[in-house]
Assembly symmetry: C2
Homo-oligomer: 324 residues x 2
């Protein structure tokens, strides 16, 4: 199966979407954020799951695009809440326009996402929208937890995993489940694909945390240590806080809230040194591996010929930048 070809089909669908025209202030930001691109990983997962059951995915294109519109709605609103100036290297909607515009345009995007699901066959529509709504609420819960954690002193690893599960993973899981359901897959397959997606999502987010500290700067495309500089409670930081001795804890606490640009490099080095002492890199890699193995277990349990799983398996490996 050719991912490039699926991507082309998907982009054609995304490019022909009509969100509305007037008032322009409402619809222009939607076209803007959707034009910023991105990996389109969620709708691609919808299509890949669908392809496992039927090569004809024509009926799945619009629901797949709906997931991408929903995802971009969450980005538009999250960017307001996080006061993010940039999205994919471009000004965020609330920066380019204003917060009110981003609120209202986002609202319409959520409505359009639902609307784009309405071509689904009547016998499947209720079930799909139930799962979509559950997922949508969970994504909001994840964003709320993320904001709560910023203000809290103590966050457990377990709470952190729950937060990234809700904020990031469940939408990946839903994407795969959606593709399976639309092609009439057995319930147990749809559920295993959902679990596969959830676990890949968690592994992917942990990997994101890891790369922020240990990634190749040129390859990663972000400033190394950005999470450390902004005192983000990542998996690495929370693990370090749990395991630090008094001296290491003191080092972490001493650097907390120090945002001076002059000492930025020193801060990253000091915290990374603590991580190194505590073997945080290895521990994080083990966790990533744990969730990735969980994902593979669920993919294995899906009742289709192994060759039909190859593309999705390959994509997961690619997302993890792994060979096997």
């Amino acid at each position: 199966m050719d991912i490039t070809q699926l991507s082309t089909q998907l982009n054609q669908t995304l490019n022909t979407l009509r969100y509305g025209e007037q008032p322009a202030e409402l619809y222009e930001p939607i076209r803007y954020i959707m034009s910023l691109g991105g990996k389109r990983i969620r709708p691609l997962l919808v299509l890949l799951a669908a392809k496992m059951y039927d090569d004809d995915v024509e009926n799945v294109l619009l629901p797949a695009a709906a997931v991408e519109v929903f995802h971009n709605f969450t980005l538009m609103h999250d960017d307001i809440m996080d006061k993010a100036p940039l999205r994919r290297g471009n000004p965020t909607v609330h920066e380019k326009w204003d917060a009110n515009t981003a609120i209202l345009s986002g609202d319409v995007m959520l409505v359009r996402a639902y609307e784009m699901m309405l071509g689904i066959a009547p016998d499947k529509l209720g079930k799909v929208l139930q799962l979509f709504s559950k997922t949508a609420a969970e994504v909001c819960e994840g964003q709320q937890l993320d904001m709560n954690f910023e203000r809290r002193q103590q966050v457990s690893i377990e709470e952190y995993i729950q937060m990234i599960t809700l904020k990031t993973a469940v939408l990946l899981g839903f994407s795969l489940e959606l593709g399976a359901i639309l092609q009439g897959a057995p319930d147990s397959d749809a559920e295993h694909l959902k679990q596969f997606g959830d676990n890949v999502g968690i592994a992917f987010q942990l990997r994101d945390d890891l790369l922020d500290v240990y990634g190749d700067k040129d390859k990663f495309g972000k400033q190394v240590g950005g999470d450390i500089l902004s005192d983000k409670k990542t998996f690495l930081m929370l693990t370090a806080l749990e395991q630090a001795n008094n001296e290491q804890l003191q080092t972490i606490l001493d650097w907390r809230d120090k945002t001076d640009a002059d000492t930025a490099e020193e801060k990253v080095q000091a915290i990374t040194a603590v991580y190194d002492q505590l073997n945080i890199r290895k521990q994080t890699e083990q966790q990533i591996d744990y969730y990735f193995q969980q994902a593979l277990y669920h993919l294995e349990a899906v009742q289709v010929p192994i060759e039909r799983k190859a593309t999705i398996h390959g994509l997961a490996l690619q997302l993890m930048e792994r060979d096997s």
Copy 2:
């Protein structure tokens, strides 16, 4: 038909709704805004339209409640955009908590509103959600137009009517249409009830504009002249601007943007005097009457026995505070 009894049934349904529990920061604001009450006019219209076709409205209660949840979602987000400090005499969500909370809780409310529609029979679900989504997008368009008009110098009467149609009227129309569709009413009846609701909605909003200037202060419950003091482009103001001679126009422009509390009374008197000279009250009453007559025409066209229309007719008269 007993409206009080329907209201009781409706309030029972609204009181048993479960929006979610954790994180509390996400769900508490939803319970808060829903507890502030209000006339619950939209879900009541759903039930009344449904009752025209079947006395058993059990299956309509949850979709009716969904419309109220949707309406309160729009209030929560509009209040952020309008920087409103109070809602029904209580602090708005973004004041009591903060803007981020109001954004995210509102998002979940929109999701829950859709979710509450999902019990609708499969053969009707797609159609209902199509109309609901169309209406939801229109309400956002109306809010955007309202915000645009604040910044614009010139707004035509026609544009104003379009704005209030989208922002306020279409949700009333949809409410009636929803009740009819759920009880298997003929398409033409559903459409006439929709038109009835839209027109009542426009008339109701124009009456709101009128009462702000010419209302009985004690009865109306708001400060008389509030729209004048905030330079709101109401139907009265836009009509006056269109018809004013040079001197009257100068009076209006002289007072514009003057927000000094000391001269508030003088401002209201001066603008009201221009309205009086131009016979704006009478003209507004004529417009209200025009839309109300349109509404009644559509109600008449509905193919049910006249006694089945009595309650809805009575409620419309009551909303207009009219005898016939």
